[in-house]
């Protein structure tokens, strides 16, 4: 299918040598993919300068975004701005010591909002751990994401309330869960009914690094042979912590899907319209019983891997600067301005909305208490387990021994160890 649906990456082709998005040969000594064959088939509907790409080849994709009027485009812009505001605020909270860790989604807003906004309510998402924008599109209160990074919860939301599974930290594992879930959807008879409110698909998000995991290959096998309604949405942000994509693959990542018999395409991951259109196409295939699709959203991790990472050790500021010029939010603003859809009052209101979000996040995080000690023993099993029960009882008695008259005795014996 990548032969059918291609779009020349118009103005990017005029960028420095190395291919439309190779981002490397001009950026100093760091190898970031210069040797990676750049697929000429890159779906792009919106250039970094905010110009719509219109070619005969991308007509089918343009149709999928034709209904997005000025209001809808401003909606996508708002989504991306608020996602970035969440990112910035969370990073600051980590720097202030309020969070133990935070993985930024900075730069990947178009990939996440474009794909997330294409989903139907009944579709189900299995994210990795950087999908804050997708979480937002699923109605998760992004503040709840910070519970995990505050260290008070391993999850933070009810997956079935939002059809958005918990973050999975071991990369790639959840692609199998997504595939199994999709196999369940098939058994429920919710594929190919023709009823847009019933047909259900599953989307799983993962990165370029995860594609090297065996579980991702096994997920592709299971999805392919079962023709399961699952969309494999790979955000190739070009960096798996410090390792460039060249350490993961000798071919454009989406081409791997061909060997499994799964149609695939590569989209400009910083183009919210292309991400929306590609996801809509893949969802339509899944909903109708056409099976899985692999989408590689070619983007860039503009921030560090997490707040514990230091990208200056392995990549150049020139490369980062190049990708700042491809910013997903800037290009949509340029489009809105060019099409007369930019409104200063609306923009000012959005700025205020972002400020309010920031204030709410700060207040929320600082107000999060400590979970009860007993909660450590809760939900290990759904049914009673004698070992857990006995250990919990022992620990409660141990804790109780430090209160009242027991306190002085214990502190005497143990030197006030508490």
């Amino acid at each position: 299918m990548n032969q059918q649906h291609t779009a020349p990456a118009a103005d990017l082709a005029a960028e420095p040598a190395g291919g439309p998005l190779a981002a490397s040969t001009d950026s100093g000594t760091t190898d970031t993919g210069a040797t990676l064959p750049v697929d000429a088939d890159l779906l792009q509907l919106l250039t970094p300068t905010g110009v719509r790409v219109e070619t005969p080849e991308n007509a089918a994709y343009r149709e999928r975004v034709a209904h997005l009027d000025a209001d809808a485009l401003r909606g996508l812009y708002r989504d991306m701005v608020l996602t970035r505001r969440f990112d910035d605020e969370s990073t600051s909270l980590q720097r202030q010591g309020e969070l133990g860790l935070f993985p930024q989604a900075l730069g990947q807003e178009a990939a996440q909002i474009g794909s997330g906004r294409a989903l139907a309510p009944q579709d189900y998402v299995f994210p990795s751990y950087r999908e804050h924008g997708v979480a937002y599109t699923r109605g998760v209160d992004v503040a709840d994401i910070l519970r995990q990074f505050r260290g008070i919860d391993h999850g933070g939301w009810d997956p079935d309330e939002h059809n958005f599974h918990l973050y999975t930290l071991v990369i790639g594992s959840h692609t199998l869960h997504a595939t199994g879930y999709a196999m369940g959807v098939q058994r429920d008879g919710l594929v190919g009914t023709g009823d847009a409110t019933k047909d259900t698909a599953v989307v799983t998000y993962f990165g370029d690094g995860a594609t090297s995991q065996g579980d991702v290959s096994e997920a592709l096998v299971f999805a392919a042979v079962n023709e399961s309604p699952v969309v494999f949405f790979c955000q190739n942000n070009q960096w798996a912590i410090s390792e460039p994509t060249t350490k993961q693959s000798r071919v454009p990542i989406h081409q791997r899907a061909h060997g499994f018999g799964i149609p695939s395409l590569r989209v400009d991951g910083n183009d919210v319209l292309a991400c929306y259109a590609a996801t809509a196409e893949a969802l339509e295939r899944a909903h109708s019983g056409g099976g899985p699709t692999f989408i590689e959203a070619y983007t860039y991790r503009m921030g560090a891997h997490t707040t514990s990472d230091d990208p200056t050790r392995y990549r150049t500021s020139e490369q980062e600067e190049l990708w700042r010029r491809r910013d997903p939010i800037d290009r949509l603003r340029l489009l809105l301005e060019a099409e007369g859809a930019w409104d200063e009052q609306w923009a000012a209101d959005l700025e205020a909305e972002g400020d309010a979000l920031g204030e709410r996040l700060r207040t929320f995080v600082r107000g999060l208490g400590r979970p009860s000690t007993e909660s450590m023993f809760e939900h290990v099993y759904a049914t009673e387990h004698a070992v857990v029960t006995a250990e919990r009882r022992w620990f409660e008695e141990y804790e109780a021994s430090f209160t009242d008259e027991g306190a002085s005795r214990t502190h005497d014996q143990h030197g006030g160890a508490r």
Binding site: D160, S173, H177, A178, R187, G214, D215, V221, F222, T383
Partner: protein, 340 residues
């Protein structure tokens, strides 16, 4: 997806004389018939009926969507089972042999075991993983292992092993009905052992938490599970001929461990020997010995002893009878304990 091609036949009732393997088959048949969300997944379990024929006939009865021949990928089997469980299904996975479980180890220990906990109880994963385990069948390497302690050491998993056809039938049904993930270790060397099985008993959790005293005695407690229970019973019979009265406890569950039943027995007998095929070093026998010592310190007449495999890889088939806890080695341990 196609609907099952045939209507499920009525499940057997009454009492039947079955092999242990057939008892598991009948238990799964009853679970499949009783709950449309139950499905079986594994390599060669459909048309072939499994390499040990434990799923024989089930695909013909319940269709390819409920008795699923999967790709040959253990992590994929368990990982997709997790996804199916999240969608409301109750998958029963067959891992073809004990030594093949390790490609799925990450999915089992990192994902399956922890999902209920990390979701604060919002998500249940009622997944059963059936594993033919243990030696004694003259197999090539990776086909005779006993990795149960690796899973019992993982919070969030239940680890069980039946030793009789009746328990095999009841325990597989209760494992499938459990909201928790269960590692179901089947003593492959005992698949052909026969016994009377009551087929229409109630399904609760009668077997999933409790050990059972299968022979009463007064001088020493033999603790065993799965394939070593018959060995322990033979040892008890042999010892009785020499005047030693042995009580045999069939653990049935390695996690949770029914410490109370074991401790009550050892308090009566004053001596304890644990028998399993797995290596004794850091095996489940070590845990039992520690707990018995902690709780029966003043009643013990001798140290708790263990009989099991050695800290070597499972040996070649021609040496496996020296590796496995034979009747003679169990009786030797009994003699050593009685000599204190």
């Amino acid at each position: 997806m196609s609907a099952p091609t045939t209507t499920a036949p009525a499940t057997a009732t009454g009492t039947a004389r079955l092999t242990l393997g057939k008892a598991i088959n009948e238990g799964m048949r009853a679970s499949l018939a009783g709950d449309p969300k139950v499905l079986l997944m594994g390599e060669d379990i459909g048309r072939l009926g499994g390499v040990f024929r434990v799923t024989d006939g089930l695909q013909a009865s319940f269709g390819e969507d409920r008795v699923v021949d999967t790709p040959l990928a253990e992590s994929g089997i368990v990982g997709t089972a997790i996804g199916l469980a999240l969608r409301g299904y109750r998958p029963v996975c067959e891992i073809q042999f004990d030594g093949f479980i390790f490609p799925a180890y990450d999915q089992i220990t990192t994902q399956l075991a922890k999902m209920h906990y990390r979701s604060r109880g919002r998500l249940n994963l009622p997944v059963v993983i059936r594993v033919p385990f243990g030696g004694g069948i003259g197999a090539v390497e990776h086909h005779s292992e006993s990795p149960e302690a690796l899973f019992a050491h993982t919070p969030g998993l239940r680890v069980v092993s039946p030793s009789t056809p009746q328990d095999a039938y009841t325990m597989i049904r209760e494992a499938i009905a459990s909201p928790d993930p269960v590692l179901f270790f089947e003593p492959k060397g005992r698949y052909w052992d026969k016994g009377d099985v009551v087929l229409d008993g109630p399904v609760g959790d009668s077997t999933l938490n409790s050990a059972v005293v299968v022979r009463e005695g007064t001088d020493l407690t033999l603790v065993a599970y799965g394939p070593t229970v018959p060995t322990a019973l033979k040892a008890a019979a042999a010892a009785a001929a020499e005047g030693t009265s042995i009580e045999v406890v069939d653990l049935r569950n390695i996690s949770p461990l029914d410490t109370a039943t074991v401790v009550a027995s050892v308090r009566r007998t004053g001596r304890c020997v644990v028998v399993h095929e797995a290596a004794t070093f850091l095996g489940s026998g070590a845990e039992i010995a520690a707990r018995v010592t902690e709780e029966c310190f003043y009643e013990l007449e001798s140290p708790v002893l263990r009989v099991g495999g050695f800290h070597t890889p499972y040996p070649v088939a021609k040496l496996e009878h020296e590796y496995l806890p034979s009747l003679d080695r169990v009786l030797d341990a009994v003699d050593r304990a009685m000599a204190f």
